[in-house]
Assembly symmetry: D3
Homo-oligomer: 134 residues x 6
């Protein structure tokens, strides 16, 4: 259960600033469905707009990474941060974009976390070779 | 400074189990350089071998993700976990593999961490739509 | 579901050390309601007492930060640590203390987490200017 | 050592998009000093601009929380996330804004992290009372 | 709800590679019950086999730490990482192995997390004395 | 470099509340060496005293876990939390107490972190069998 109100479509209609963002989400995604993350953020129109504008560019705009790879990176970070909602919502997005490499990504996430902790526990110093030329 | 001994090549030569893994690392990578992570793990030949065998398959074997994308996911998880050594070593690996999308990946990592925390702080419930069909 | 027993009031009554802490919680808070955190800690009277004595001083005692600001900091840390229970319980406490700045705090938590991860991913060195004069 | 180039002022001068952000940072802060975080982000003008615009509003704009309280929350989250650079830079900012409550904030950060982990380890269920009325 | 399919015993029977691992889990544990973690990993037979082989050695093989101490360390890390499933499954395993020190371990986990964060927030430098002789 | 002053012995001598704690640390440990953690905490005599009293009981008092096992759990949590200082100081303490199982503990820490992240990424639901009888 959220600690903030989740805005219904009726409530959204009455707030022009929130409505403008919701309209853009629906337009960009080509779908009427707006998930709870945005309904929770609607309590603060400034953060709602800023977050959507950023996400639209980073996940949907042009760039060297294809949309599906972006989702895999998003899921990997969300798993490391333990954000259940984010894993569910971005796994759904990745499936829509044709994800077939989920299992491979999982293996990398698991392996990275294991070696991250081994390195931490042993406090391995960075090799000089990794610091050259920057 | 490490909390464990970092094995020199001389020390590695005297332990057949450790030497076998170091030989394979050099062979697979086509380079004489073996970084500190493996020199720290050498204190426990079983974990050394298990970790190398796993990493060899996950990061270097066949699979639906290309080698560079694997490194990007590895760096993203390491950043989320705050592992300085891992970020340095896998950024070096990604540069060798021709990374040009570092900045884009960074933006995704930053954005994912921001929304992960917003979701956590508001305890947003998972939408029913994300749970359908599994 | 907890991995430990949650003590009922009947069970609390029969253990003088636990009862003493529960009595003080009720007295200090001016309410009969004792939340599950304390009912779980009751399995270890020493940790129960130590935790309550510390929390009473830090969150309720005198100090340069007002009670509501303390709750905001508590929620921010709990969000970063992904502790769902703690976010719920301290959001409830903050609402009782008149929280009106929840959305602003959320934006800071999100922003801090984003820049934390950007800094980690790029391994930005600390500026000399930040180290002067300590 | 950073994994990306830290832009010098000379390099900044030659890139109009980066220069515009650096000029604004200097103007808003009333100081010529631009710290390494921005010099690292300069490698990606879009993320640089987006991050600065967000930070300017959240940490410097109007809002229900005073500037010092915002810094305390920022430091608390950075400590929980273990971001050394961020702790240094925002502690410097907080000192400039007259921080006197550092020790109190530290005690809250420590206490919150302790109870976060106790709750996690025992998997304490959220009390019904915390879910009423939302 | 999982983001991947949880394999039923019927589905396991039809995949020899998965069946071989499930058979070994049942044989080693002396029980027909195979928990959801393995049913989720079954979607990737390579990761399933690798994870089980590693876990079998680390948690069940010979070594200087007794089986119960291993479980306590496992739970402690899982609490620090906030993994609810892992805490539940390894607490169940620890109870089977006769855990009586749960409360003491909890106190250590809480205390360690508190001092970890205090140290982070103050950026305490490592004493020279701790670096001698390695 | 710390963000707070590290108290010298001269400064400690002039503050009776701080001096009392430092005297007790030296007495309990049977050594004149007081590490930087306490010199940083000395800026807040209340937190200094509370932290030392708690640590003394949890790490040094009676209990079902022997002193060395306590240190192993402490190091494991510190590795999961990425606290470099804590890993160094408690590894030093564990070595003093005769640690021989460091490598085994490392393997558990690494394995736990890997499976924690696999479970998170797949959102594995808790088995009913783990919830029975509590």
């Amino acid at each position: 259960m959220a600690t903030v109100r989740l805005w219904t479509d009726d409530q959204v209609q009455k707030d022009p600033a929130v409505k403008a963002v919701f309209d853009d989400i629906r337009h960009v995604r080509g779908s009427d469905f707006v998930n709870n993350f945005w309904r929770a953020l609607a309590n603060d129109a400034t953060t709602l707009k800023r977050t959507w504008e950023s996400l639209k560019v980073i996940m949907g705009g042009d760039g060297p990474l294809d949309p599906l790879t972006r989702e895999l990176i998003y899921i990997a970070v969300s798993a490391a941060n333990g954000c259940s909602y984010c894993i569910h919502s971005h796994t759904a997005a990745a499936k829509q974009k044709g994800m077939t490499a989920a299992q491979h990504m999982l293996a990398i996430v698991g392996m990275a976390s294991e070696t991250n902790n081994l390195v931490n526990a042993m406090q391995v110093p960075v090799d000089r070779e990794f610091l050259v030329g920057e």
